[in-house]
């Protein structure tokens, strides 16, 4: 997709011959595939070329009720099962996922638009690791919470976003099952397929029926789940707006909640940083998964005396990024997840221009069909620009300069969000100084967007509450006494 290359890279397409997809997907309730009560289906579209992949069931309130009832019915025997037996099921799911990792990666890319390099090397392996990790905890809860009585909460309603469909399903399901809860999970409407493949894997693993139920649909389906009276816990990852709606809906009901919401995270480069690796970190921070990352390093702060150099290097690096068909193994930036999201991003880009921010996009041909957005920089912006304040959820980076440490801490914290931050410096003491002062759930030092099942993840302020991953992730699914 680049011009005037002496040695262009030939397309290297991942094969799609080996995957198996149904034309139409029912709901996975009580261990069975059941047609939706609504009788309605909606298409799942490949955002890379707008082709139709499969039809997905649109669950209504009755379907949600069926799923919650199934989960409730399964709860006593599942929570009463010997913990080591629960672990066996989780290990089994993890292993089958590994066996099918190639298929899962291809479907994730087809359905969501993310580059195959990422779904193959990051999403799917991490999702498997979450199951392995929490399988290990299932019979060791007494050690996770010493001297406490540990009980599961009951039925967990889980609603996950479209940016990491399989990974988020794993983040939610694995700790819930390990602690003895049963689950009703709703994937996002644009990316239901890998959750449904996971349902097939769960079926193959022989998990007792009703322990995991997967229902598909839109916001109304999610709303029915949140408002169902027999749910004990809501785990939600998604936008801050929806998070607030959920918080209001469950107020006074006694339902527990963890909310993992939006972010506008600061990535801070000091003048003593390893500059070329910092530039890589900027690229990984904002262009990973087309910027559809809640913890994306979308606000860059560069110390003023090295700003010109960093920006020059960043622009040069952006020229070597491949934007295009996500199934090409060499693609760095794939397709935007949906038409709606592309519109949102484009509207922010035009707001940025209107507000007078200097824009940079590398020259690059985009595919004619599908939803694509060039990696974008907004240079010389201020905290007061809209593009600096609001979460764009796309490959758009704002760049501000700073003079002193105090100034950058103040500006980094000057946001309603508090999910993540990055600090780049050669000085260890400076890293620790900043990690204590940055109001963010995760602070990365000399790296960005690193995830691991052993490490807790979550935010504060408008980025939500509760932690997923690590021992902390277990706490979200247990009653302690």
């Amino acid at each position: 997709m680049k011009n005037k290359e002496k040695w262009p890279l030939s397309p290297s397409m991942e094969s799609t011959q080996h995957i198996s997809l149904k034309k139409q997907y029912a709901l996975f309730i009580d261990g069975k595939w059941v047609a939706p009560n609504s009788g309605k289906y909606f298409p799942s579209i490949n955002p890379a070329d707008e082709s139709h992949i499969a039809d997905i069931s649109h669950a209504n309130e009755k379907d949600v009720d069926l799923a919650v009832r199934a989960a409730r019915k399964a709860f006593p025997s599942w929570s009463g099962l010997a913990p080591s037996e629960r672990a066996k099921y989780l290990f089994r799911i993890a292993r089958i996922m590994q066996e099918k990792s190639r298929e899962l990666a291809v479907i994730e890319t087809l359905d969501g638009g993310k580059p195959i390099r990422e779904s193959r090397d990051i999403d799917v392996p991490l999702a498997c690791n979450h199951f392995f990790y929490y399988a290990g905890w299932a019979d060791k809860l007494a050690y996770a919470f010493p001297n406490r009585q540990v009980e599961p909460l009951g039925v967990a309603g889980q609603i996950i976003p479209w940016n990491f469909p399989l990974l988020m399903a794993a983040w939610k399901i694995a700790p819930a099952l390990a602690t003895g809860n049963t689950v009703v999970l709703k994937p996002a409407e644009t990316t239901s397929l890998t959750a449904l493949k996971l349902a097939e894997i769960i079926e193959e693993a022989g998990l007792p029926k009703g322990v995991v139920n997967i229902i598909t649909g839109f916001g109304d389906t999610g709303s029915a789940l949140v408002n169902h009276p027999d749910i004990n816990k809501i785990a939600f990852t998604g936008s801050t707006n929806v998070g607030k709606i959920i918080q209001r809906a469950i107020a006074g009901t006694g339902k527990k909640a963890t909310l993992e919401l939006g972010g506008k995270s600061a990535n801070i480069i000091f003048d003593d940083a390893p500059i070329d690796q910092a530039v890589e970190g900027i690229v990984n921070g904002i262009f990973f998964n087309q910027g559809h990352v809640c913890c994306a390093g979308s606000r860059l702060f560069v110390q003023e005396n090295i700003a010109d150099k960093v920006i020059r290097k960043l622009k040069l690096r952006m020229k070597s990024l491949y934007v295009g068909n996500p199934l090409d193994k060499n693609t760095d930036i794939g397709a935007i997840n949906s038409k709606e999201q592309l519109k949102t991003i484009e509207s922010y880009i035009s707001i940025g221009k209107k507000e007078g921010a200097e824009i940079y996009q590398p020259a690059c041909d985009l595919p004619k069909k599908g939803f694509y957005c060039l990696p974008t920089l907004f240079l010389h912006v201020a905290q007061s620009h809209t593009v600096v304040q609001e979460e764009i959820f796309g490959p758009v980076l704002t760049i501000q300069t700073f003079r002193t440490i105090d100034e950058v801490i103040q500006k980094a914290n000057n946001t309603p969000y508090g999910l993540a931050a990055g600090v780049w410096t050669d000085k260890g003491s400076r890293i620790f100084n900043l990690t204590t002062k940055l109001k963010a759930g995760v602070v990365w030092a000399n790296t960005y967007n690193k995830f691991d099942p052993t490490s807790p993840f979550g935010g504060y302020k408008e980025s939500g509450f509760g932690r997923e991953g690590g021992i902390h992730g277990l706490a979200a699914y247990v009653k302690l006494s």
């Binding site: 005037k4 290359e5 002496k6 040695w7 262009p8 890279l9 030939s10 397309p11 290297s12 390099r117 090397d121 003593d272 940083a273 390893p274 500059i275 070329d276 690796q277 910092a278 890589e280 970190g281 020059r312 040069l316 070597s320 193994k329 060499n330 050669d426 000399n446 790296t447």
Partner: protein, 302 residues
């Protein structure tokens, strides 16, 4: 203008090893297939400095290697020749004679290769001897001991003097990165070599392990990138030692493409120092044309 040592020390950026490893790992996920693979393999052949640097080198061995240099595999028409042969100064005259009327350049190591533990006067005589015998390129080694002692000015001046002794011959400066130990040192030594007058910077002698790892080559390519951004002057790069497979060579080319751009993808600016790489690349080219892997016995060893 060339920078002074104090300016170089101020400007040389820190290098984070973990970050470099990640970047390199990502480059190694690039997939080179189809036409770009065929083209890439031929580029690799044309960038090789076919090398023999052993105490047991004889006239016969050098003569055979020189013939191979421009007859890589005559069964396949239109294969390029290698870029150069690389020999000890005592073999330069012979190599020059064997390769007259070809495009293949003569590179000679010098400066008491591989250790560099000799007085400067001896190194200058060594270099002049090779140039007078017809060497087109000089591969010198830096004084690693002096570098590790912190005598950067000495290292800088030595390179500058050898550059002068080279006359018209192009100078490749071998850092022997396996002895410099850290990527911070590799970066600093690269900057010193570039400003002291190197036309090429080169990783290793091939006598010390590790040699041309992708991490080291990446760090050196970044030094070249910065120099080009600051001055507009191109510097060449030569990883040497340890690149013996076509796949690794192609990954190196991808790295050059992404860090420096397609302008560097010619043997004027990029070389592989290798003795066994050519045959592995030939085997891949034969496989590309015929669809099957030939036995190594179908490819000549010289």
């Amino acid at each position: 203008m060339a920078k002074t040592i104090s300016q170089i020390l101020l400007d040389t950026p820190k290098v984070d090893k973990v970050g470099v490893e990640e970047r390199v790992a990502r480059i190694q996920t690039r997939s080179v297939k189809g036409p770009s693979k065929s083209q890439g393999l031929k580029m690799v052949l044309n960038m090789i400095d076919l090398t023999t640097l052993e105490g047991k080198d004889t006239q016969g061995k050098v003569r055979q290697m020189c013939y191979k240099a421009h007859h890589l595999h005559d069964a396949i028409p239109n294969l390029p020749a290698v870029a150069a042969v690389c020999v000890y100064p005592s073999m330069v005259k012979l190599a020059k004679k064997e390769l007259r009327n070809t495009q293949v350049k003569i590179a000679s190591v010098s400066t008491a290769f591989p250790s560099g533990q000799a007085p400067l006067e001896v190194k200058i005589i060594d270099t002049k001897f090779a140039v007078d015998n017809g060497a087109d390129e000089i591969d010198m080694v830096i004084s690693r001991g002096r570098f590790l002692q912190g005598e950067f000015q000495y290292v800088y001046d030595e390179i500058a003097q050898i550059k002068e002794a080279c006359g018209k011959a192009r100078l490749k400066v071998i850092l022997e990165t396996g002895e410099l130990a850290t990527l911070d040192n590799v970066r600093l030594a690269s900057d010193i070599a570039i400003h002291a007058g190197a036309d090429f910077i080169k990783t290793s002698t091939g006598k010390i392990q590790p040699a041309a790892t992708m991490q080291v080559t990446y760090t050196m390519l970044m030094a070249i990138q910065d120099h080009f951004a600051e001055t507009g002057n191109m510097i060449g790069m030569k990883p040497a030692g340890g690149i013996s497979t076509a796949k690794l060579a192609l990954h190196n080319l991808i790295m050059v493409k992404e860090v420096l751009g397609d302008d560097w993808l010619t043997n004027e600016w990029f070389r592989f120092g290798a003795s066994s790489l050519a045959n592995d690349v030939l085997m891949q080219i034969i496989k590309n044309e015929s669809g099957y892997y030939a036995s190594p016995d179908y490819i000549s060893i010289d």
